[in-house]
């Protein structure tokens, strides 16, 4: 929309204005749903993940608050000018507003993804046994974590990609119907350029993502690839089918029914070295392989034991501190000093083992393994759709260049029926990111079972059903509204010019 409106202001061509206005209408319908889902996310950290909210709220709350102050108000204020201001503010002011909506939306994406990235790669904090929580000690480490920065770009480009695919697809429908040809071709020009840039950048940032996942969340990488036994110079599975007979992580069943592999690529992508060792699921659970820093990976049992040691040390620390304060109140300074020393010792043990804290809440090694088929297929399907779209947009741009876009019927069909794929790819990406990191709400520190609220499952299921019903209802309304808007099409240029002159 911002690019289209810039073209309008630069060229003074009313057709660009109408194109902008049409896509803004569609944007408005989607924006409403976006607002509705955003507030749910915020509430649910408290309602459903209350322990999480205390345990890391000191770090996690800040990005949410900053998002509200810096991004949401920007969006809300200038979206109002964008929708209602065509006849009320100057052309340039309106254009600035449209760009500021884009800036606000991107800033909002940045801060929420900073928060998400921090869960996957917790940094910039220290555990405080006194307050029993993690406390932030380096704001910039949180805000500019390499994972956050990469995640921001990957997610934002995925939004551009969806936008591009949607615009090109809908415009394809107009071309099929042989109506609003000029509008449709104009839209396709912008949509396919944005789309191509976005999908290429998705591949680049996706590579960055895979690299970070390999370093910080090796289990997620193993799940994405269905890699049970690690190896040096591991290949990347291009296409594969998992064997449902594989039920235990360390049995001898071949995890694949078939697979087509690109040799050495996984090692290269994950570790920037074609011969690097990529640990598999079994390696990560059982330990024993050599980590990047030269140390040997610990087996689950050892990490669990150290995690429990840390949890016990926290309990002992609490008791010792209570004894200390009791002793001080009773005026017994020797006992108080002894308790203080004991507390200090417990704190040392806690810190030594804190890296394994979350493992103490888990029961056995299998708990570390996320849902493999879901992660594996989601990842591969997402990548395939991405590759498909790069090709698709190149073809579209070729036909635009040849000026035969409006007459190439098969391409209109392809564009139209590809729209769901773009939505699917975005969802699959989030499935990989969030299912792949199970059981952790915060990597290695807090598993889901220790993060949830003390609310019974019945309450949560009831809420879930209510949301499911409500959003299904809203989705149906949203889709039919969009279909109606699209069928109606952009306003004819002439009448709009009339209106424009009246108001001048």
């Amino acid at each position: 929309m911002a690019i289209m409106e810039t073209l309008y202001v630069k060229t003074g061509d009313e057709k660009w204005k109408n194109t902008t206005k049409f896509w803004q209408k569609i944007f408005g319908v989607n924006f409403a749903i976006g607002v509705a889902t955003g507030i749910i996310l915020e509430f649910q950290f408290g309602t459903n993940w209350s322990n999480y909210s205390w345990f890391v709220g000191d770090i996690f709350g800040a990005p949410l608050a900053i998002e509200g102050i810096i991004a949401f108000f920007l969006e809300a204020t200038f979206i109002s000018i964008m929708f209602f201001g065509w006849n009320r503010v100057s052309k340039r002011m309106h254009l600035t507003s449209t760009w500021l909506v884009f800036v606000g939306a991107s800033l909002s994406a940045f801060w929420i993804l900073v928060a998400n990235a921090w869960m996957q790669y917790p940094i910039g904090m220290e555990f405080n046994p006194e307050s029993v929580r993690n406390e932030m000690n380096d704001f910039w480490a949180v805000a500019f974590s390499p994972v956050a920065y990469n995640k921001f770009l990957h997610t934002t480009f995925s939004c551009w990609a969806l936008g591009g695919a949607f615009v090109v697809g809908v415009s394809g429908w107009y071309l099929l119907k042989k109506r609003d040809i000029d509008f449709a071709v104009k839209s396709i020009k912008i949509g396919s350029l944005v789309g191509l840039v976005a999908f290429v950048m998705l591949a680049v940032t996706g590579d960055g993502s895979a690299y970070h996942v390999a370093q910080k969340q090796p289990m997620k990488l193993a799940a994405m690839e269905g890699l049970y036994k690690g190896k040096e110079g591991a290949g990347l599975v291009a296409i594969g089918m998992l064997n449902p007979a594989k039920t235990v992580y360390n049995d001898d069943v071949d995890p694949y029914i078939f697979k087509l592999e690109i040799p050495k690529l996984l090692s290269l992508l994950g570790y920037r070295n074609i011969n690097a060792f990529v640990p598999g699921i079994a390696d990560i659970v059982d330990g024993g392989y050599t980590l990047q820093d030269g140390t040997t990976a610990l087996p689950f049992e050892e990490r669990q034991a150290r995690g429990r040691k840390a949890i016990q040390a926290l309990a002992d620390y609490q008791t010792a501190r209570e004894e200390e304060s009791d002793a001080i109140n009773a005026g017994n300074s020797t006992a108080a000093a002894e308790a203080a020393t004991a507390a200090a010792n417990h704190e040392t043990i806690l810190r030594e083992n804190y890296a394994h804290f979350g493992y103490g809440y888990l029961e056995n090694g299998e708990d570390l393994i996320p849902n493999i088929p879901l992660t594996f297929y989601s990842f591969h399907l997402m990548v395939m759709i991405g590759m498909y779209y790069i090709l698709f947009f190149m073809i579209v741009l070729y036909f635009i260049y040849r000026k035969s876009m409006s007459t190439t019927k098969w391409l209109h069909y392809v564009a139209l029926w590809s729209i769901p794929l773009a939505y699917l790819a975005g969802q699959l990406g989030w499935v990989v990111a969030e299912v792949g990191r199970q059981p952790w709400t915060i990597q290695d520190i807090l598993p889901v079972q220790a993060a949830a609220s003390a609310v019974s499952a019945g309450n949560v299921i009831t809420t879930f059903i209510l949301f499911a019903v409500m959003f299904t209802g809203l989705l149906i309304a949203e889709v039919t509204i969009m279909v109606k808007q699209i069928k109606k099409g952009p306003d004819p240029v002439a009448s709009d010019e009339n209106m424009h002159t009246i108001h001048q």
Binding site: F45, G57, G85, Q318, N459, T480
Partner: protein
């Protein structure tokens, strides 16, 4: 946080307006005008609510954890009615919205009634208390109740708050305040004689119950027992007339509170009794911000537990035991320096968009209407 709450309650005039679209007018074009007048403002209220939530999370994570995770259903109902609001403006006038404009207006009505009432009730619990316990040791398995730190002790998970009479009083006070402010907003914003006249009447109809419910809540609270903190031992105990003492101990807060109340009443009286007076919303609005801000300072300052537990006094949340670390609070303080910039561009945008009052003619000429 108190100031944000004050701004939020002022901006609830949008909800107040939503609750009376059908009673203020019977004509479709007038209803449409009301919807559109509110529709240019609803996002500010919504954004303030979201920011209020985020800022509360960042500054008092233990409150967020305890209240949201405990009074689960109270917050969920609030959430539902705001989710409904989020789509209702945009969808109601669109062809193909399936359920028809009246359903979306019903959503706005629900949001207007429940949104204001629930927020009022939740604020009232800062004075009346809730049934929860907090054990930070739980996470280390010290308790027998599992790892969750904050545990709600009432199985109704927040629904019980709606049958406490004092909570209801503040809930209704906020509801009628929002409706009063909405009437004042319509008087100020609309270029429509009939609606302006009716709105003036509605200022009276809603202003009177607002004042009554607010006075009952206020007097009851001032003379009730309050949750005091012993600054030496951090023990929490019940003190008679604690909140009255807080006002007396903090004279500046009391003076500002009273000035705020006077400003609210002045806006109401002038609008009802002077036919030319259109600026009521500014007096009552500013008064609301100040009054609510001061009321919340009384809930938390002067060694008071701002989120008290009525079943286990020592679990009550105080500013000290529930806030973020000094580091995070400092970071948030730096971020809040950005607030004047936000206010400046909001002010600029409102000015640019509202050079003239909204009339039914605008709805046909503006490119985007609800």
């Amino acid at each position: 946080m108190s100031l944000l709450a004050g701004l939020l309650v002022f901006l609830l005039f949008v909800q107040g307006g939503q609750s009376m679209i059908n009673t203020l007018s019977r004509k479709e074009d007038e209803k449409k005008l009301l919807v559109n007048a509110l529709g240019r403002k609803w996002e500010f209220t919504f954004t303030t609510l979201v920011t209020f939530g985020g800022a509360f999370f960042a500054s008092f994570p233990l409150f967020y954890s305890t209240s949201f995770g405990g009074a689960y259903w109270a917050w969920m109902i609030l959430l539902f009615c705001f989710v409904l609001q989020a789509v209702s403006y945009e969808f109601q006038s669109q062809p193909g919205n399936i359920y028809g404009a009246n359903v979306y207006r019903a959503f706005l009505f629900i949001n207007g009634m429940l949104g204001t009432f629930i927020l009022g009730v939740m604020v009232a619990t800062f004075f009346t208390g809730s049934e929860f316990t907090v054990g930070k040791g739980n996470i280390a398995g010290l308790g027998t109740v599992g790892p969750v730190i904050s545990q709600w002790q009432n199985p109704l998970h927040g629904l019980e708050l709606f049958v406490n009479l004092r909570n209801i009083c503040l809930g209704l006070a906020v509801l009628f305040l929002a409706r009063t402010l909405a009437s004042l907003f319509f008087v100020n914003r609309l270029s429509h004689e009939v609606l302006e006249k009716r709105s003036r009447k509605f200022v009276l109809y809603n202003g009177v119950p607002f004042v009554l419910f607010f006075l009952v809540f206020l007097i009851w609270t001032l003379f009730a027992e309050g949750y005091a903190v012993d600054p030496g031992t951090n023990d929490i105990y019940l003190e008679k007339m604690k909140y009255l003492h807080n006002f007396i101990d903090m004279p500046l807060v009391m003076i500002l509170f009273l000035l705020g109340v006077v400003a609210v009443l002045y806006g109401i009286f002038q609008t009802v009794f002077s036919e030319k007076f259109k600026e009521g919303i500014w007096f009552s609005g500013a008064g609301t911000v100040v009054t609510v801000t001061m009321l919340l300072l009384v809930a938390g300052y002067n060694n008071t537990a701002f989120y008290p537990s009525s079943v286990d006094l020592q679990s009550s949340l105080t500013l000290q035991n529930s806030s973020s670390s000094e580091f995070t609070l400092s970071a948030m303080a730096v971020v809040s320096l950005f607030v004047p910039v936000v206010i400046a561009y909001i002010f600029y945008a409102w000015r640019a968009m509202e050079k003239k009052r909204l009339s039914t003619d605008d709805l046909s000429s503006d490119s985007h209407t609800y």
